[in-house]
Assembly symmetry: C2
Homo-oligomer: 321 residues x 2
């Protein structure tokens, strides 16, 4: 239940109804990962379902890319917990009439994503299904998990990488065009920010989440879990190079376009106020990942986005809207 | 990859192609659970995909039963590893146009199955999908896992419970009839044999597997993993009460009908030769679960089924045949 904590809309209605139906049979839901304490460390677990026609289309991505993207999206939940990946389990459903090679090709992408962060494919299941369906359960370990709760008034809100590339690619495909290479790569080949998650945890991160539903929605989750207000200055959001042109076509301002885009799997983190831009520069030098201050934590509730000082209302993606 | 070790047919061809595609990016696949050593115990993990129209039909089962069956089938892999359940993660895909209550109702069944063995729902994911799709990742702990490998020449081969009930229910539905209550229950409400798995491990079980593909196929997996031959006397197989009538309609002998039926989730176990029927009686007294000697381990390879002393050839279920 990676989106369990708030928000209006049919998807959250369904999730709330699950919570109600489960009652005490549910663990502590609502963070990026579930945690199980074993000895003196935590096992971090998360699961992520990718369905053809919902999360991807075969016209857009190769089977390897479909597998990579499904696995990378799940592994991103470990990054958002500051956990070190052990590996993953993959359930794959494929049409009975499909090419027998499509399972192996999509699993090759899954395996590559796991290997890219030091993990392995630990197990899986295989079934026929009406459309290509990949469900990934990830397993990691951490002695010091960083949760969504924990953001404190005065913290800075930082984001890794650049936002909006995946949405720019989606916008191109939807318009019947070919996305530019770097935007296509953001969508097809997201990189789970495992190293950055661990780096931020070591430097005292108070709260961490990955951007899967869009900056505005996910900042709202962080605010709700931490019982604080998060104020974002959209002017500061680092934009992917494809954003300005893509935003123009939607008549949205570039920063709004980027803030509404999901699936980039960058990390949004609340760092103690002592953490400076000079500190952030070390992450870029060490790992090549920019880290940008885009907001702050204050008393209150919800996520407030401002552009040139004026508040703008934004909402994330809803599977059932 | 709960069926990774052997057998002909399109399903195993696909699984072998996955193994080849993954190469060193895969862990040690091919047992009921993956194991991750943490401190001085193992975390046992498995994943199990259930798809509407493949594993169940809504005309046959309530949504709660669909959820229960999906979760129980996955939890059965923990039983087959002699692991104690910690909980599970559930991915649910439902048609966008469906009743919003169907997610909560199927998750209620998932939660009940988890709670029935002392586990909890630790997390999950939700998406739209063309048909109801439930993928369950289970998490357990064990200091002494029992693998499929380990059966030794001279061991007795024992089975819990009675076989063929789930297949009898399926046969009734397929013929447009209503299954008798106890057979329907075998299919709709399988009980993961967690307690029996732990009990058998404590008494020195050499090798353990759960029956998901059918006795003949799963005995073959155990034989392959242990590099032995398993000889089964089908005459000894304990039959569910619905089997004789159901078998008659298929022109199969009752024991053959039962041995070919999958999804009963009983345990098949290789016990040291010192383990006797008197010992087995204690399991029935303590947990109400019969344990029956149905074969033995000898030198060689493969599973051999005999009926009245004559060899009969049987094969399990193939998702892609």
């Amino acid at each position: 239940m990676s989106h369990l904590d708030l928000g209006p809309g049919p998807e959250f209605d369904r999730i709330r109804s699950i919570e109600k139906a489960l009652g005490p049979r549910a663990g502590e839901l609502g963070d990026d990962c579930a945690l199980v304490l074993v000895g003196d460390e935590f096992i971090a677990l998360s699961i992520d379902l990718s369905v053809e026609g919902v999360h991807f289309r075969r016209e857009w991505l190769s089977l390897e890319e479909i597998g990579w993207k499904a696995a990378a999206g799940a592994l991103s939940d470990l990054a958002a917990e500051a956990a070190r990946p052990e590996g993953l389990l993959a359930s794959v459903g494929v049409p009975k009439a499909g090419d027998p090679g499509e399972v192996a090709n999509s699993m090759r992408g899954v395996g590559e994503a796991a290997a890219s962060v030091g993990g392995r494919v630990l197990g899986g299941d295989l079934s026929s299904a009406p459309v290509l369906t990949i469900d990934i359960a990830v397993v990691g370990r951490t002695a010091r998990p960083v949760r969504r709760q924990g953001a404190q008034v005065g913290d800075g809100i930082w984001v890794t990488g650049e936002l909006g590339g995946a949405r720019a690619a989606l916008a191109s495909w939807s318009a019947g065009e070919t996305p530019i290479t770097t935007a296509r790569r953001s969508f097809a080949h997201p990189v789970p920010r495992i190293g950055a998650g661990l780096w931020l945890a070591e430097r005292g991160a108070h709260a961490l989440i990955d951007l899967s539903d869009g900056l505005a929605g996910d900042a709202g989750h962080l605010a709700a879990a931490s019982r604080v207000m998060i104020e974002l200055a959209l002017d500061r959001v680092p934009l992917h190079g494809a954003v300005p042109a893509a935003a123009l076509k939607t008549s949205q301002l570039p920063a709004v376009f980027a803030a509404l885009g999901g699936e980039g799997y960058e990390l949004l983190v609340a760092m103690p106020r002592q953490f400076t831009s000079a500190d952030a520069g070390a992450l870029e030098r060490e790992m090549g990942i920019p880290l940008t201050l885009i907001g702050r934590v204050s008393a209150g509730s919800g996520a407030v986005c401002r552009l040139q000082g004026r508040e703008v209302a934004l909402t994330g993606f809803d599977h059932f809207a």
